[in-house]
Amino acid sequence: MAELLLEISGIHKRFGGLHALNDVALSINKGEIYGLIGPNGAGKTTLFNVLTGLYQPDEGSFRFNGIDLFRKKPNVVVESGIARTFQNIRLFHNMTALENVMVGRHSRSKASVLGAILRDPKTRREEDAIKVRATELLAYVGISKHAGETAKNLSYGDQRRLEIARALATDPTLLALDEPAAGMNPKETEDLKRLMEKIRNDGVTILLIEHDVKLMMGLCDRIAVLDYGKKIAEGIPEEVKNNPRVIEAYLGASPD
């Protein structure tokens, strides 16, 4: 029985004269891998930004796990359990891989200023726990050996993994990935697919933007299609693939 995790309806977002999101509605169930596709400029990243609090929608409703997240700040969204990665990798480039992931633990730790200054046992225990968890996550995504390296020196594929590890550090219920496979070769894409399945099997729901149609078809439980800010289709991959409106929107993008 599918349990509803995230539900948005009537979402509008305008930038001056540009109506970037037009009456968008979708729902994501717990344990799904939910895909979001559409031509460039359709509004996918804009929707992402709305769902993660970076943009404030003009109208609509947004409920997540029983919490109202409409127009809430990014840190509230993260605390409620949504984490994300970025289309063009926004790591903290001059920090090490381990430090990047440790930053991800920020919202799940409680040490106050006083605690930081006094370094009482409770604070020190928390610091150690942060480090341990960060190390675990690096291993989870497969980049343990790069723990002490500066983030900008990692290979492209490893940087993407690091970003995922950092997002996982926030203990999310929903992980939103913005084109995680961009620029990857087929082997790397396959590894990424397995990682995402592992994450889902470990209890994290995944929302995914991707252009690699084959990847999406093989990975996602359900897919929504955006075009010019509107949702034009939603359903299981087979249905979406054969939807005439979707085909028309992509103008001949042939699924291999």
Partner: protein
């Protein structure tokens, strides 16, 4: 009511000067997205060099009628300020074009102090009186008084601003400036000589600054090496108020700020029951600046720009 009209007129005069200086800030900001902190000192240099030039001319026996003396002075001070502006861009800003944005700001502060101290070295820290340019005899206008000089300032400022707006809209250089301010990389690809355009922006702004400096000196009757900071800050506030990067905004902001300052100072005493007097006049500029940046950063005429994630 008489007080109000007088303050409005005073505000218009001072505001026109602010507007002229604000144009310098806004042009540089439009093109490079940096605050040319040193612009206030350029204005000061314009005033000081003009005074010195006029004194030298007088000492060597050349006596011309007021306005011509000033023009003669400007013929010397404008090239000086233009050169300084050019050098500042070349030496301090150009190498930092790719640096984090705080770097040129810190450098600008350093240059501002440098220019100020050089001026103190040359002219000592004493105020120099500005020679009489035009008759200071007040005319009566709607119950308030305004002098020939003040009228001349307003008219000249408006003419210059009009000329600048014309240049930016209709000439090749102006088009190039607008292109560079919108998208530097693409403008370069379209064949615009970016370095030349940027240099010219500084040169023109500095030239205007010299004229503004003369106006300040003439309006207040004196000039001194440390006058650049306050007037620069106020003009920058005006530019922000009108919408930084927007030329018409600089004009509007300048005049508006001048009026706010003067009307405000005039009524501040009575309004606060004597607690705050007109000695707090300078505060208006700062308050306007903070309020605008916090409440409506794009200013009156600016565009609202959201940062894309």
């Amino acid at each position: 009511m008489d007080v109000l009209i007088q303050q409005l007129l005073n505000g218009l005069v001072v505001g026109s000067i602010y507007a002229l200086i604000a144009l310098g800030y806004t042009m540089v900001y439009g093109i490079l997205q940096i605050i040319n902190f040193a612009h206030g000192e350029i204005v000061m240099m314009g005033a000081m060099v003009t005074i010195s030039a006029i004194n030298v001319l007088n000492a060597s026996g050349v006596h011309l009628p007021g306005p011509l003396m000033v023009i003669a002075g400007l013929l010397i001070s404008m090239p000086v300020t233009m050169l300084i502006g050019f050098l500042i861009e070349r030496i301090a800003y150009r190498p930092l074009r790719k640096a984090p944005r705080l770097a040129p700001l810190i450098t600008a502060i350093g240059i501002s102090i440098l220019l100020q101290q050089i001026a103190v070295l040359i002219w000592k820290n004493n105020p120099r009186s500005f020679p009489n340019v035009l008759s200071q005899e007040p005319h009566n206008f709607l119950g308030a008084s305004i002098t020939d000089l003040q009228i001349a300032i307003v008219i000249l400022a408006l003419l210059i601003m009009g000329g600048l707006l014309f240049m930016v809209e209709k000439t090749k250089l102006g088009r190039a400036m607008r292109a560079v301010s919108m998208n530097q990389a693409v403008a370069g690809l379209m064949g615009v000589n970016i370095n030349y355009v940027i240099s010219m922006t500084f040169v023109i702004g500095s030239g205007l600054g010299a004229v503004a400096g003369v106006m300040v000196g003439a309006n207040y009757g004196l000039a001194y090496p440390t006058m650049g900071f306050m007037i620069g800050l106020k003009a920058f506030t005006a530019a922000v108020l009108g919408g930084i990067g927007n030329l018409a905004g600089a004009v509007a902001g300048g005049i508006l700020l001048g009026i706010i300052e003067n009307v405000g100072a005039g009524y501040l005493g009575p309004l606060t029951g004597g607690v705050l007097g007109s000695q707090y006049q300078d505060i208006f500029a700062f308050l306007v600046l903070i309020l605008v940046l916090v409440l409506r950063p794009s200013g009156l005429l600016g565009e609202r720009v959201a940062e894309r994630a």
